[in-house]
């Protein structure tokens, strides 16, 4: 872990202690993936959790309400995408309540995988004959608190599901990793884990970028364990699996960290998938500086949004409202920090100077850019945006 850094020296963002709900947006915007078709018509009434778009997989409505039509003005990660608009009737009507079907330990592997696939609990490839199940409870970005809140709020459910997964997937070892600076979570999980002797709790130092799956695996497991096969899930996946198995319902809500120095009090919000950023910011944040821009999925590894007409998807972990950074890029001083601290042993300085060099190993953690004393934006070069001036 020598390559990693602690970002505690930077003003830490402390979020509110309770999760706040924002589950009543006026409209939700459901992205229509390429090759998928809409199976409802304009003016139709849809139920919550009703299939509205179909392709290889089904996409469900997160609210009940009226189908308004399709718009092409919404964005995901700054790319235009067609979205189905549903006007919320705020009644949360559900067509069929499935209820609890059976004890989650009783599920067979195929049965579980079918449900996970049907309700899109997670995108994990459950590798055959893997011997280790690794649960990632570390937030990917040091300023995110989403995973930490999931552990805090649902530790009993998480442990129950992990224990069930251990049986269902027939793995030999389960490791649950938690950030050791989250003392509440450590106490919480330690108190509950006694009932589950097969789950090992591993406390991980609060250093970046340990929340990245490949880095966590490399630092937590031995080479032999990695070669024997690892299934890695993050706590959000586990919680989604719990909901899918226990309640047989699709994932329509998610926790998102809303933070940054342009808002008064950072918080974690439970929000409907498909909510627009503008709606969320307007209803949830007390903005203290109007000259802000929006960054999603981390202040270090995230991307800035060109427009607030972006949609919250299942992959949105955090939204940061930040004021403009005035740091100026200066000439490289050859300090070598980018090279010596790169978690995948790349040479960002070399990659910046050689456009054709192989950048495929880069995990886009942004550590080189964070550390650079000359404030060089390596991230742009590593992501292949060569229009940036040298």
């Amino acid at each position: 872990m020598n390559n990693m850094i602690s970002v505690n020296d930077y003003k830490s963002i402390s979020v509110e202690k309770k999760v706040r709900d924002f589950l009543n947006p006026d409209y939700v915007y459901i992205p229509i993936p390429y090759g998928y078709s809409i199976i409802v018509k304009t003016e139709d009434h849809v139920f919550k959790e009703q299939v509205i778009i179909k392709g290889d997989k089904c996409i469900y409505s997160p609210v009940s309400g009226k189908v308004i039509g399709v718009t092409d003005s919404m964005h995901i990660h700054n790319a235009n995408i067609n979205c189905l608009i549903i006007e919320n009737d705020f009644e949360e009507r559900v067509e069929n309540r499935h209820g609890v079907s059976k004890y989650i330990n009783d599920f067979k592997k195929e049965e579980m995988l079918e449900l996970i696939d049907k309700y899109q609990a997670c995108d994990i490839n459950f590798r055959e004959n893997a011997k280790t199940l690794l649960i990632n409870g570390i937030d990917k970005d040091p300023f995110e608190r989403t995973r930490s809140f999931i552990i805090n709020s649902y530790s009993d459910k998480l442990l129950e599901t992990i224990d069930a997964l251990l049986t269902i997937l027939d793995v030999q070892e389960t490791i649950f990793t938690i950030n050791n600076s989250d003392t509440l979570n450590v106490v919480n999980v330690s108190n509950n884990i006694g009932t589950y002797p097969n789950i090992k709790l591993k406390l991980i130092p609060d250093i970046y970028p340990l929340g990245f799956p490949s880095i966590l695996i490399k630092n937590v497991l031995s080479k032999r364990e990695i070669n024997d096969g690892v299934i890695m899930l993050n706590v959000e996946d586990v919680y989604n699996i719990y909901n899918v198995l226990k309640r047989k319902k699709p994932i329509t809500e998610k926790l998102v960290t809303v933070s940054g120095n342009a808002i008064e009090s950072p918080l974690v919000v439970n929000v409907k998938i498909g909510t627009s950023m503008a709606d969320l910011i307007k209803n949830v944040c007390k903005v203290c500086d109007d000259n802000y821009f929006v960054v999603i999925n981390g202040l270090i590894a995230g991307i800035s949004l060109k427009s607030l007409s972006s949609v919250i998807t299942s992959s949105t972990r955090s939204i940061f409202l930040s004021t403009k950074d005035n740091s100026k890029e200066s000439l490289c001083i050859n300090c070598g920090l980018c090279n010596s601290k790169c978690p995948v042993h790349l040479n960002p300085k070399y990659l910046r100077e050689h456009k054709n060099a192989d950048k495929s190993k880069c995990i886009h953690c942004g550590l080189c850019t964070y550390l650079c004393p000359s404030k060089i934006n390596f991230k742009t070069y590593l992501e292949g945006d060569e229009s940036h001036e040298k």
Partner: protein, 300 residues
């Protein structure tokens, strides 16, 4: 807006430079005592002599600051704050280090003129050679030609005959630059730079180890006393502060190791040509090759 990182570490040229200079302060204070206060108290110099080390060392830093200000305000029409202009490059640190390395007998006018011209030109010829080594070599040559020689021995040291033991060198009694002789304080500074991650540790470590090894072999072979070989002529200080200049040295791990060994080997080679200039010539040559070294060793 380009994708960027929206938080940055506090590390900057300013923090790196300031840390390195602060760690140098104990050595500077000792140097001022040894080459100013002590000489004045024992009537080896007058009032001007008392202040000469301060003038040389802090004057060097001031020249570095002046060069940054002139370059940024006049040539680049910068509108940045004074603080960010002062630390827009390592020139203040360069001036301070060159001041520490100077002989107390240096002609002050020559020193300031060459230092100013050298640092100023370096602003236009970016990252090419180790400017500290180059400026020292020029000052050394001009001092030798114009003012009859270059010697580190101060008035007190020239009045007596000394036989230094190991501990004498450790507590700074050895002969050398104004503020470079106290080895214990140098080790503390090196440790401080290592802890704060403000040094290219591989370069200082490998270059020092290389010269220790080579001089040890030479000492055994020629019966020359080993201790003065290592501690004389500021070699340890130069390997710690001059060779590790951020801008003109290698930056990859393999590169810094090779760079350090090249500095050590060249220093040993040039020692027989001119022991005072040897480390500077070695660093000058290695700094010219720094990009090449990094490219070659990391090719695989």
């Amino acid at each position: 807006m380009k994708n960027n990182v929206y938080v940055r570490s506090n590390r900057s040229i300013q923090t790196i430079s300031l840390t390195r200079m602060v760690l140098l302060l104990p050595m500077i204070i000792y140097g001022i005592y040894k080459n100013g206060i002590y000489l004045y108290m024992h009537h080896y110099c007058g009032v001007m002599g008392l202040f000469k080390p301060i003038i040389i060392i802090f004057g060097g830093a001031l020249i570095g600051a002046l060069v940054n200000i002139i370059y940024e305000y006049i040539f680049k029409h910068s509108k940045d704050s004074l603080l960010s202009i002062l630390f827009s490059s390592f020139h203040i640190e360069y001036g301070l280090i060159i001041g520490c390395l100077m002989s107390i007998n240096i002609n002050v006018y020559l020193y300031f003129i060459i230092l100013f011209i050298g640092l100023f030109i370096s602003k236009f010829v970016k990252n090419r050679v180790n400017i500290m080594a180059l400026i020292f070599i020029i000052i050394y040559i001009l001092q030798s030609k114009m003012f009859g020689g270059f010697s580190y021995i101060n008035a007190y040291e020239s009045s007596k005959v000394f036989s230094y033991e190991f501990m004498d060198y450790m507590i700074g009694r050895g002969v050398g630059g104004i503020a470079t002789t106290h080895i214990i304080l140098l080790i503390i500074a090196l440790f401080g730079m290592y802890v704060t991650n403000n040094n290219k540790n591989h370069i200082s470590l490998v270059s020092i180890l290389t010269i220790i090894l080579l001089f040890a072999f030479y000492s055994i072979y020629s019966n020359h006393p080993f201790i003065p070989l290592i501690f004389a002529y500021n070699y340890l200080f130069i390997c710690s502060y001059v060779a590790t200049d951020f801008v003109t040295s290698c930056y990859t791990v393999k590169g810094t190791i090779l760079y350090g060994s090249i500095v050590g080997i060249l220093l040993f080679g040039f020692y027989f040509l001119n022991p005072i200039l040897a480390p500077y010539i070695a660093i000058l040559i290695a700094s010219v090759l720094n990009n090449l070294i990094d490219r070659k060793v990391n090719k695989s």
